[in-house]
């Protein structure tokens, strides 16, 4: 049906592709360009920097840079907290989704409905009581104090996505392996794990994006370098001196935290799309 393209079609497809790519990447290009403007040219009013400068990157990355401690500690917090909460969510969700896909038990629907309910919960509604509780039990401004609420973001989507993945796994393989003399554990490991692993990995990617993106918990439940994640830290940047806007430093930091996203997207485009469309309920 769609084999060889005519010259005309080829032309229009090129135009469409260019339009889509510009739409998708223009704001990214915009902030990349801003991040290379020196402080004296930040207000140049042009898209590209008149002179390319790495001044802003030095400010956030080199030792002695005015925003270096703020940014690097935030980066460490963001990576650590997002990874841990992703890991916990995926482990919990994997066993739960296994039960949902494999076993027949009352309450299955309740669990799925709960996951759905949690995923549409307004995060801001949880912040006030959590803030209150956390400061009383000493979790305020700690990693654990963010990891726990992040589960409300990462766990529901992990359960949904994994349940959808697991439902497609041909579980008969397991029985076949058991018939062949494997123990249940061996059967599970040899026959099922290789089939389930890609789904688990995809789920972890999506959960990580969501944790990495959080802002509301980040600004509400932290107040220092100890636990403040990157999105919150961006909002707290101060300029090199009191009367300078932190535009350049924020742009540079924004670019740095966007790089891993772009790499993951390029490497795992296919997996992310399948994960999102299979069980995704939230972007």
């Amino acid at each position: 049906m769609r084999t060889a393209l005519t010259a005309r079609q080829r032309f229009w497809w090129t135009v469409i592709a260019v339009v889509v790519i510009v739409f998708a990447l223009f704001p990214v290009a915009s902030i990349v360009a801003t991040s290379f403007k020196s402080s004296s040219e930040i207000n140049s009013g042009t898209f590209l920097p008149p002179h390319w400068s790495t001044e802003n990157y030095q400010q956030i990355l080199s030792s002695g840079g005015s925003a270096q401690t703020l940014f690097l500690s935030a980066l460490r917090n963001s990576i650590g907290i997002s990874l841990i909460s992703t890991f916990v969510a995926v482990v919990l969700a994997t066993v739960a989704a296994y039960a949902i896909a494999r076993l027949d038990f009352p309450g299955k629907r309740i669990i799925l409905t709960t996951a759905l309910g949690v995923s549409i919960f307004p995060v801001v509604s949880l912040v006030t009581p959590l803030f209150n509780l956390w400061r009383e039990i000493g979790l305020y401004d700690t990693w654990l104090g963010l990891i726990i609420p992040y589960l409300s973001l990462t766990l529901p989507i992990s359960i949904w996505t994994l349940a959808a993945f697991f439902r497609q796994i041909p579980w008969e393989l397991e029985q076949a392996a058991e018939v062949d003399g494997a123990t249940p554990w061996q059967a599970f490991r040899k026959a099922i794990v290789p089939l389930a692993a890609p789904g688990v990995f995809t789920t972890a990617l999506i959960a990580f994006f969501i944790a990495w993106n959080d802002f509301v918990y980040g600004i509400s439940l932290t107040s220092s370098d100890r636990a403040r994640p990157v999105p919150a830290a961006l909002a707290f940047f101060t300029g090199a001196s009191y009367f300078e806007q932190p535009t350049g430093a924020i742009s540079a930091a924004a670019v740095v935290v966007t790089i891993p996203v772009v790499i993951l997207v390029i490497l795992f485009q296919r997996q992310i799309v399948s994960g999102l469309t299979q069980g995704a309920v939230k972007g």
Partner: protein
């Protein structure tokens, strides 16, 4: 052994098995279930309790039980209603824009040849993966009167000049806020729609084409009706998400010039003003709004969430 006892035995065995399976199911799924409840149900119950008090954190001696008074104060205050309508406005406009753009993108990807499809998908996944706050800053700096270039690029458009301060009035601020929101979330909606498009039977479309239906007719009569479930689910989830908008508004205007939304109002009351009681009441009301939207969608528009997810 008679037949009946054998049957009874069998039955008992089966119910034992069922019991064991149920137990195992809950052992496996229970922890996740408990965690989900702990991180949401507990805080919202606590919020309901807190909302019955007048409680400012820096004035501990002034704390007292006041019943539903906080709710009364909020619901009779124009500040709440302004934020409420702004939130609705943002939700409606962004969802419509995302639906149209997302459909266009899905259509392009659906029709594209294999190699190109991969490229396009990679490109549109970038906005999906990017941090919302980063998106907000990117759009903000592009439009900002001092550091932006949009005014210089588009000064030939009537109404845009180098002196236009986008973030000084309501309409223009909301425009940039919604642009950032739409850009960031359209990819997600387009992927959901792409999955829906794939489910439209190709022969139906071809048959319509043979019958001489125009492209527009094919779209309206064949494609969209067959994707209705996917569209409804996408719309509902995006609507609920847009209703909770916070990051873009916080970064760009902090709610100035009539751009305050409900999430920001809740945040400002409890976190900035440290008015725990009022903040909790706003949070509870926001929660009820979300429940209300769900209820309307499910009862009125018969959106079958579970069904659309292959979950019946």
């Amino acid at each position: 052994m008679t037949a009946t006892t054998a049957q009874a035995h069998h039955k008992a065995k089966a119910s034992d098995r069922a019991k064991a399976e149920a137990r195992l199911g809950w052992y496996l799924a229970g922890p996740a279930f408990v965690v989900m409840l702990a991180v949401t149900a507990y805080p919202i119950v606590q919020a309901v309790y807190d909302s019955l008090f007048r409680d400012q954190l820096t004035d501990p001696s002034g704390r007292k039980f006041i019943g539903l008074r906080n709710y009364w104060v909020i619901l009779t205050d124009p500040v709440w209603w302004q934020a409420f309508w702004t939130t609705i406005l943002i939700t409606v406009i962004t969802v419509i824009a995302e639906l149209i753009l997302g459909f266009a993108l899905a259509f392009v990807m659906h029709r594209a040849v294999r190699g190109l499809r991969g490229l396009l998908r990679t490109a549109i996944l970038v906005p999906y993966g990017i941090i919302t706050v980063v998106s907000a800053f990117a759009w903000f700096y592009a439009f900002d009167i001092t550091s932006g270039y949009v005014n210089h690029w588009f000064d030939w458009v009537p109404g845009i000049s180098p002196d236009l301060n986008w973030f000084a009035s309501r309409g223009t601020s909301l425009f940039v806020i919604m642009a950032s929101e739409v850009w960031k979330t359209t990819p997600f909606i387009s992927l959901l729609l792409l999955a829906g498009l794939a489910q439209v039977p190709g022969d139906l479309e071809e048959a319509a084409e043979v019958d001489g239906a125009t492209a527009w007719q094919r779209l309206m009569r064949v494609i969209i009706p067959n994707m209705k479930a996917a569209i409804m689910v996408a719309v509902l989830f995006r609507a609920l998400d847009a209703f909770r908008i916070f990051d873009n508004v916080f970064i760009m205007t902090k709610g100035a010039n009539g751009t305050e939304v409900l999430s920001l109002l809740a945040y400002r009351q409890s976190i900035s003003q440290l008015q725990i009681g009022l903040g909790a009441a706003v949070s509870v009301l926001l929660f009820l709004c979300v429940v209300g939207i769900c209820f309307i969608a499910i009862k009125l528009f018969k959106v079958d969430l579970a069904g659309a997810r292959g979950e019946s």
